[in-house]
Subunit: 355 residues, 2 copies
């Protein structure tokens, strides 16, 4: 069961004449055999609702400051050509009735509500985005998070963790960015990857002949993100890599105790929190802990790479940079804006090194 929700809005330079507009539209609603209810809005303009056949439901609002909104909901299986022609008739008629005062006419693609496949995955900065998702490939709750892999017509499979778009099979630019965009020489080096369970970083890094890569894994990606991880996740141990299925904090602490160090630490665990609100506090604490431990296992000439967040979240990015400046071990950093195809927003990446 799904509902298609259409909107049609007229932004006006002057309020619409209620009675003339309503009278002008009457024949359209009558023709559609829709039952009208006019509501008392207590001075907030004209508002009528209409019940039609097949579960159709419409709302007409004439707001006092020059805005006419129309909503039409219809159920799955309804005759979409008929629905379109109703909307066309209304748009044409309103163009005539409101002539001379129209500043903008806006008819959005219909919202698909309650469908089998969820196509709406907002950006990190909270904008409404409809993806071309056509299939749920995988959907499971792990001990830590909800893991979804959805198929996008253009991006291939997309990994979505707790509702956040994480990586698609078209997102090589993400992997390249978090590895320094070709500016680093990984040959013969020791690399620690925190997270990165989709295997993308590992897959690219093994091509560069490093001495040893240590990382951890999410199992779903091995099967469903093959274009990203290739076959590197098929075995947990390769010539130059080892995958640990463990929490990274105890491992990092153990490395610090043992005095084990790395040339590169790539933190692909999570984006920085989008706010500094109390409910995000524990994420910031976690981030601080990971940063601190990572810098401790970094060699003096080593580099630490991580993603930041959407470039629009300037406060969160400043907070992160403040955190970097206050680390017990003094560091410098650089940042870079990258277009990750499936994110549909520009993303910030950081490189951090010891002073």
């Amino acid at each position: 069961m799904a509902v298609r929700h259409y909107t049609l809005d007229f932004k006006l330079s002057a309020p619409a004449d209620h009675s003339a507009t309503v009278r002008g539209l009457q024949s359209i609603f009558q023709e559609q055999e829709m039952t009208e209810t006019v509501h008392d809005t207590e001075g907030h303009g004209y508002l009528a609702t209409f019940i039609g056949k097949n579960g159709r439901f419409a709302i007409l609002r004439l707001l006092s400051q020059g805005l006419v909104t129309f909503d039409l909901q219809c159920c799955e299986g309804d005759d979409l050509a008929q629905v379109d022609s109703l909307l066309n008739a209304l748009e044409t008629k309103l163009n005539i009735l409101l002539h001379g005062t129209i500043q903008r006419v806006k008819r959005l693609p219909a919202l698909q509500r309650g469908g089998e496949v969820d196509r709406y995955w907002p950006t990190a900065d909270g904008r409404l985005i409809e993806y071309d998702i056509d299939e749920v490939v995988f959907d499971k709750d792990s001990a830590y998070q909800n893991i979804k892999i959805l198929h996008s017509q253009q991006f291939g499979n997309i990994l979505i963790l707790n509702g956040d778009v994480n990586l698609s099979e078209s997102d090589l630019p993400y992997t390249q960015a978090i590895m320094g965009n070709g500016r680093e020489h990984y040959a013969g080096k020791e690399i620690l990857i925190l997270g990165g369970g989709d295997g993308g970083i590992l897959c690219e890094a093994v091509k560069l002949k490093p001495k040893m890569i240590t990382m951890m894994v999410i199992d779903a990606c091995r099967t469903h993100m093959r274009k990203t991880c290739g076959n590197v996740l098929d075995n947990l141990k390769g010539d130059c890599y080892e995958v640990l299925v463990e929490d990274c904090v105890p491992i990092l602490k153990k490395f610090v105790e043992e005095g084990r160090t790395f040339d590169y630490v790539i933190n692909d665990l999570t984006a920085i929190p989008i706010s500094t609100a109390p409910e995000e506090e524990s994420t910031w604490e976690f981030l601080r802990l990971i940063l601190d431990l990572s810098i401790k296992v970094l060699r003096p000439t080593g580099k630490y790479f991580s993603q930041g967040n959407c470039v629009n979240l300037t406060e969160a990015l400043s907070e992160y940079e403040g955190l970097l400046r206050k680390l017990s071990c003094k560091v410098d950093f650089s940042k870079e804006v990258v277009c990750v195809p499936s994110y549909l927003e520009l993303w910030m990446f950081y490189t951090v090194w010891k002073k």
Copy 2:
């Protein structure tokens, strides 16, 4: 005057118990002093509308096949924290009332309807996309089209022609793609640019020391797309370029008559039509004409570059490829998928040459 439109949907594995659910929510609506109207849906589930203070308007639908939808519209200037807490209360209560049958809870970012700035610019394949537009920089109708330049927080100024996102100041990848992505040697060559009025191609091409570039221009971009065009549009004639403010078909015909030829023809006039429906027929005709004339002015070793459209519009792309195969002068072609940052969808580009 703008309206914020919130949606909150529960997808269920079984129909909701109407009377228990409605009874369970009653106290929330009463607390908000909302006046309820229950509508007769003629067997299409439960539907109630609610009029609240400040022009607030809500709709609760319990559809028979297991979907509960809630809509809340509020007017500009309303107390958004209060609106949020109403939605939170409803979500919490519905989570309790529908416990055990919930498959998905979806609360989308609010639609902003009738606002000063229009943030919704659908993709070529018809998906709903909200941009981070915060300012209308330019908005005018020319003899040919509506020209808008809107400011995006992350992409800089965006050129929108007749409602289609054309180019943003972050879209160097578009310009690079339509010039062959670094695979061509432009030094000493003669180049013809059809369209490209934003100046992006011209700006990149002059850096490559060509013999001569011939193109045409839209005036608005010179002022508002400086990051794209630099200063190349400040004069209509430079050392190695000439900008013609004329229709391209008569010019192309004149070039054919005169026997004038070029090493590169870059068609940046328009994307290929998204459908083969009758109303698009004239665009296809125009495209065929431009293609035919362009190939005629192309030297035997020359190349013709153009954009295609969104990769998802496979039928339109096939139609275009069919057109290429049927040209009077036999050609071969290659294609390339490119991520243009502000498009929020992957885009196809074509390279065409004489057989």
